[in-house]
């Protein structure tokens, strides 16, 4: 299976960001973002706090609106039209830093909610799929519990399974391990690595550089709302072109 990791991405384009700009009032959060992600590619985004990483990936599934430029996901251009937003969200799963599980529902209900109500799948089938993904993330025995009864690492794995139950083509991760205690980070990263090995298209904001080295086939470094550097991990880590990237890496790797 690990062989798939080094597979060259096929030509099919999954996501295109073309000259994307966004402002919060006068504050220029995203400044001319251009990025192409092919199906099966794993992009890792890093950069200092406040550089716009979250904002960028949240624009891809329309949790934030961009104000200029084009975002195309799986051939569908993102507009203000509810239908295009719906179509894109169906194809794109997202995992949040704070898990954002639904605390009033059991783990199993968290996983079947959207398949049943959005995709109109029969409940029995949704449960079956949910159990399959819970096994994939190694916590099938927690199905009947409430999120508040799980550890952080378990919650984040449930959140990943919840996104996968929608059978997305693309997964977005926004710092999925930053809210976790060190001993739980590995269990979440393992699940993500396995996902990458399965050929999932992923954009992942993270500062876990070990993970980035194993999984990414493209590193993106952002600063001040712009993409400063884009390179495959080998060159990114050993020979970064920009000074800011160098500075950032030296900071993060010495820690």
């Amino acid at each position: 299976m690990p062989a798939t990791l080094n597979r060259t991405p096929d030509a099919q384009v999954a996501i295109t960001l073309d000259g994307v700009h966004k402002w919060y009032g006068a504050f220029h959060v995203l400044n001319d973002i251009n990025l192409t992600v092919h199906a099966g590619e794993r992009i890792v985004v890093c950069g200092p706090s406040g550089s716009g990483k979250s904002t960028m990936i949240r624009c891809i599934n329309a949790l934030e609106q961009h104000q200029q430029g084009h975002i195309v996901v799986d051939g569908v251009e993102l507009t203000n039209d509810v239908r295009t937003v719906d179509r894109i969200r169906r194809n794109v799963g997202m995992v949040f830093q704070q898990f954002n599980l639904f605390p009033h529902l059991t783990v199993l209900d968290n996983l079947t909610l959207a398949p049943v109500w959005v995709q109109k799948r029969p409940k029995a089938e949704a449960v079956q799929t949910a159990m399959k993904y819970l096994e994939r993330v190694n916590i099938p025995e927690q199905a009947g519990k409430y999120p508040g009864q799980l550890s952080g690492g378990q919650q984040q794995r449930v959140a990943i399974a919840r996104a996968l139950c929608m059978k997305p083509q693309i997964m977005l991760f926004d710092e999925p391990t930053s809210a976790l205690d060190p001993e739980m980070i590995k269990e979440v990263l393992d699940v993500m690595i396995e996902l990458a090995e399965g050929g999932m298209t992923m954009i992942c904001v993270t500062h876990e550089m070990g993970f980035a080295r194993t999984v990414a086939n493209q590193m993106v470094f952002m600063d001040g709302g712009a993409i400063v550097e884009k390179a495959p991990p080998e060159t990114f880590f050993t020979a970064p072109k920009s000074d800011r990237t160098q500075q950032f890496l030296s900071q993060i790797l010495t820690h």
């Binding site: 599934n61 949040f96 109500w117 959005v118 999120p147």
Partner: protein, 384 residues
């Protein structure tokens, strides 16, 4: 050693302590029981000087209040007589005979005496439907059907005019059925309205938001009495000539609108307590606005606002007694009216205590039920 926070039982137990004295321990186990009681009271009642002072103070207060109260309410009370002179003779005792003579009037008001089984059955149906609705696993669509059925049955029983039942116009309804109808219909109708108002107040559509804010702020700005007055006096002025809306209905609508405005703010508080991430996660999963609201946001918002919501219901239940100002005879009014019978005029304390007891039973039940529901939906950090 740190003591556990006191449970309510413990507190009650402490207050009852002065009575322990007459409960003589049985001779055989006497010594050990006495030791246990002694140990317990040393730990809980006399553990420190302030605690001892408080214990003595409480015992004294109980002695001073409970003793005369028992004397008046139980020992010297007159329980059964048709002659009010007997009651007047027993100067220092309660006259429960007044209640015994008047309870049917207090409970059912001016409803024709021979037909009073009808409101009784209506109340029983109401209470049964309430009891069924209290069980969370019965919260299914059929419950709505059940309620519709109960409403129709109650309407038939109260109004009559069909199935050989004598017609009774609703001007003659009074007492407990009227209070319950106003309160229960008020709760059932104001709750969804309040949710709609609370959601509207947070809507992205400026027109919807303006209407909801305007309504809530207007209604909250006036006292219930003036809402009732407006409903009963002003509202008919706007209606075309010859067109009337029943007085009871107008009062009911007034109560619903008033309660909904307050409830809406309680619900909005709950909505604001739901973290933004919940909404984002639902969006990211592709849930539509209504599904997101109904399946993710509202269940959490309502759970956090249970205490505030029940508070509102309890307060509304008691506020129904204000309908007397537009000439409707609710439970409190019938209790008062029962006193207008000259021989029984002095016994207002008994009348109000009786009415208060009935209000208290319902309000206490609501408050306990809200605690039960809160526990029932507790899904938080219970990791063992």
């Amino acid at each position: 050693m740190a003591r556990h926070p006191e449970s309510p039982d413990e507190i009650y137990a402490r207050e009852e302590e002065p009575d322990e004295g007459w409960r003589r321990p049985p001779p055989v186990e006497g010594a050990s029981l006495r030791a246990v009681v002694g140990e317990w009271s040393r730990k809980n009642l006399f553990s420190s000087i302030p605690n001892t002072i408080l214990t003595v103070l409480c015992a004294w207060l109980l002695w001073e209040t409970l003793l005369p109260l028992t004397q008046w309410g139980l020992l010297d009370a007159v329980w059964q007589t048709d002659d009010s002179a007997v009651c007047r003779a027993a100067e220092h005792g309660a006259c429960w005979a007044f209640i015994a003579n008047k309870y049917r009037f207090i409970l059912f008001g001016l409803f024709p005496y021979d037909e009073q089984w009808r409101p009784l059955v209506a109340i029983a149906l109401f209470v049964a439907a309430l009891a069924v609705s209290c069980v969370p696993s019965f919260w299914r669509p059929w419950l709505v059907v059940l309620w519709l059925g109960v409403m129709v049955a109650c309407g038939v029983l109260m109004w009559g005019g069909v199935f050989g039942l004598r017609f009774v116009e609703n001007g003659r309804w009074g007492g407990l059925p009227l209070t319950l109808i106003l309160a229960v219909v008020g709760i059932v109708c104001s709750f969804p309205l309040a949710i709609a108002l609370a959601l509207g107040r947070r809507s992205n559509l400026p027109a919807v938001r303006a209407i909801c804010v305007g309504f809530i702020e207007f209604v909250r700005g006036v006292p219930l009495i003036s809402v009732l007055f407006m409903a009963s006096v002003m509202f008919p002025l706007f209606l075309p000539e010859g067109f009337t809306i029943d007085k009871l209905l107008r009062a009911q609508v007034g109560i619903i609108l008033f309660t909904a405005a307050y409830l809406a703010e309680a619900v909005r508080g709950g909505l604001q307590a739901v973290p933004r991430g919940q909404s984002e996660a639902a969006d990211a999963l592709g849930l539509s606005y209504w599904r997101k609201t109904g399946l993710v946001i509202l269940p959490q918002a309502l759970k956090t606002s249970i205490p505030a919501i029940v508070n509102q219901f309890i307060s509304m239940f008691k506020d129904t007694s204000l309908v007397i100002i537009i000439g409707l005879f609710d439970l409190l009014s019938t209790a008062k009216a029962a006193l207008s019978d000259p021989p029984w005029r002095p016994f207002y304390v008994e009348a109000y205590l009786f009415a208060a007891l009935i209000y208290w039973i319902f309000c206490f039940f609501m408050s306990r039920y809200s605690q039960f529901i809160e526990r029932r939906f507790e899904t938080g950090h219970r990791r063992s």
